[in-house]
């Protein structure tokens, strides 16, 4: 596992060199800023970051796949996967290295929204603990989104296709799960409710550290990283 560190370093270099990271970051901040001003910083509203956090999860469904689409798909299309997979590095280390790299990039992106928090705290007595938990939730949901994005990136050499696949998967589990749950019969509904991502995230925004939610995010993240590793391994057999 010691190879994860150099792989993470290299991933960070690649991410920060790519203009996509900056463009996505700017658009993300644009939307979150707009939401903050129109939903949160309104006189008379409850002093809470909740509407912003909820809006962010929706924006991230589209933003994160754009950050992760490059990760493996570019190596597949440029051929650098060949030197990577013939070095004494396991496929799991490759996936993990990329995961941590993009996660750090994502964390940096979240940090840029701190001005919102500072402004809110300057104009109200919002409970800090709730905000901290909200950000923790954002970190966990981001980890899940990144792992889905990485999995999609491993599937194809076309970056755009990787982004679309990831957005599709994330959309189903974020926007559409409620709708499907309504249509479904009692058995299936139970299953669908169990993977209702927004519901698990809500706990964090309320300031509750629910172990159920933490476990959900951690296990689903690990699951998609596992899938990504398997897909990468399977590339050798073509």
């Amino acid at each position: 596992m010691r190879n994860v560190v150099p792989l993470t370093e290299r991933e960070l270099v690649a991410s920060f060199f790519s203009p996509i990271a900056y463009v996505v970051g700017c658009v993300f901040l644009l939307f979150s800023g707009w939401y903050f001003v129109t939903q949160v910083l309104v006189p008379g509203n409850e002093a809470s970051m909740r509407p912003l956090f909820e809006a962010m999860t929706a924006i991230l469904v589209f933003a994160v796949p754009l950050l992760t689409m490059r990760a493996v798909a570019e190596e597949l299309s440029s051929g650098t996967i060949e030197t990577l997979m013939t070095a004494p590095v396991t496929d799991a280390e490759v996936v993990l290295g990329k995961f941590v790299g993009v996660l750090l990039l994502y964390a940096a992106l979240l940090l840029t929204t701190l001005p919102h928090v500072i402004i809110l705290l300057a104009y109200s007595a919002a409970p800090i603990g709730v905000i901290v938990f909200g950000y923790l939730g954002l970190l966990l949901i981001g980890a899940l989104y990144i792992s889905v994005g990485l999995f999609a990136s491993c599937c194809t050499r076309h970056q755009l296709l990787a982004a679309v696949i990831a957005m599709a998967i994330l959309s189903i589990f974020t926007f559409l799960v409620d709708y499907f749950a309504e249509l479904a019969g009692p058995g299936l509904r139970g299953v669908l409710m169990a993977v209702n991502v927004p519901a698990y995230f809500d706990e964090f925004t309320k300031g509750i550290l629910d172990t159920k939610s933490v476990v959900f995010f951690v296990t689903t993240t690990v699951f998609f990283l596992f899938l990504a590793t398997k897909v990468l391994e399977s590339k050798r057999w073509r």
Binding site: S78, G79, E82, P88, T90
Partner: protein, 314 residues
């Protein structure tokens, strides 16, 4: 060092490598020669653990490429045909990254990078981003990466493709020097290159090994098709028929070249009629200004043997 037994690789329904077996001993430079699509790159990719074989086995440095993949990878340096590099990294950064992947600590990495910078002539652009380099420079970076951890075995896929003549010559010298302490297997479809660098050549066509041996051995196998070139001044018809009559001459082709007859003489295997020809010329008072034995080249052998193989297949 490298042992391949009954290696077969199918890409779907396409047979890329057909039951090949060969050995490479320690310290040898072996050239894998063959037309495009013959299965050279596929074989090398199996040896480097990039792809698994469909059947058969291969061991590198005593480790099985399928079951002990990590061990194999620690002992090889691989330069793929496409020389894939990360364009946004600088050369030194990239070599540092690759050194870390190979578990080299900082001191070892610095020493190794200085060493390969010298040997692969990277000094001029060691701090430039890879995206700005020319093809030849990138090739050298790839070679430096393969050499970085001083591996026992070097596997080079078309190492001089795209280089200019000076660089080709220098790379060949480098490879020859390396062979003293490393085992090298390289692939190429450029015959003179394999002839110049390798101690032994394995010719592969359509996934099968069609010939194997040192360039001298291979040339001896085609000694039968060697030819004589002679230039004689005299009446064309007479010259031609006189030479035809000499023992050991199979066929005489004649063309006029500025008053001189340029003769291409095919000889029967084992005969060397040069002495007879020169005596004949003196007897008949014809001026003889060139007589030379054109030893069959590896190129001819290669064309013959791959054509013959294709003929069998067709």
């Amino acid at each position: 060092m490298i042992q391949v037994k009954n290696l077969t690789k199918y890409y779907g329904a396409f047979l890329a490598v057909d039951n090949i077996s060969f050995k490479v001993e320690e310290g040898e430079i072996v050239g894998f020669l063959g037309p495009n699509g013959a299965g050279k790159s596929t074989t090398l990719r199996i040896l480097t653990c990039y792809q698994p074989a469909t059947s058969g086995s291969a061991t590198v440095a005593g480790f099985d490429v399928f079951k002990q993949s990590m061990e194999v990878r620690k002992h090889i340096g691989y330069l793929p045909e496409s020389v894939p590099l990360y364009p946004e990294m600088r050369v030194r950064e990239y070599l540092n990254f690759r050194g870390k992947l190979r578990g080299m600590d900082r001191a070892a990495r610095e020493k190794a990078i200085n060493h390969v910078t010298d040997r692969c002539w990277l000094g001029d652009f060691i701090d430039r981003p890879i995206g700005q380099l020319s093809k030849g420079m990138k090739q050298r970076v790839g070679l430096a990466d393969a050499l970085l951890h001083d591996p026992k075995i070097l596997i080079l896929d078309e190492p001089t493709i795209g280089l200019d003549h000076t660089q080709i010559r220098e790379t060949r010298n480098l490879i020859r020097e390396l062979a003293k302490k490393h085992t090298v297997i390289l692939s190429s479809h450029i015959l003179p290159e394999v002839e110049a660098t390798c101690q032994r050549t394995i010719i592969i066509a359509r996934g099968k090994i069609v010939a194997s041996g040192s360039p001298t051995e291979l040339r001896e196998r085609i000694a039968g098709s060697s030819r004589l070139i002679a230039e004689i001044r005299g009446p064309q018809q007479e010259v031609q028929s006189a030479l035809q009559g000499i023992e050991g001459v199979r066929k005489v082709d004649c063309s006029l070249n500025n008053g001189w007859n340029r003769l291409t003489i095919e000889t029967v295997q084992g005969h060397d009629p040069r002495e007879h020809i020169s005596r004949l010329a003196i007897q008949r008072n014809w001026a003889l200004r060139e007589i030379r034995l054109e030893a069959g080249s590896l190129e001819e052998f290669f064309v013959q043997i791959t054509a013959r193989h294709a003929g069998l297949e067709a």
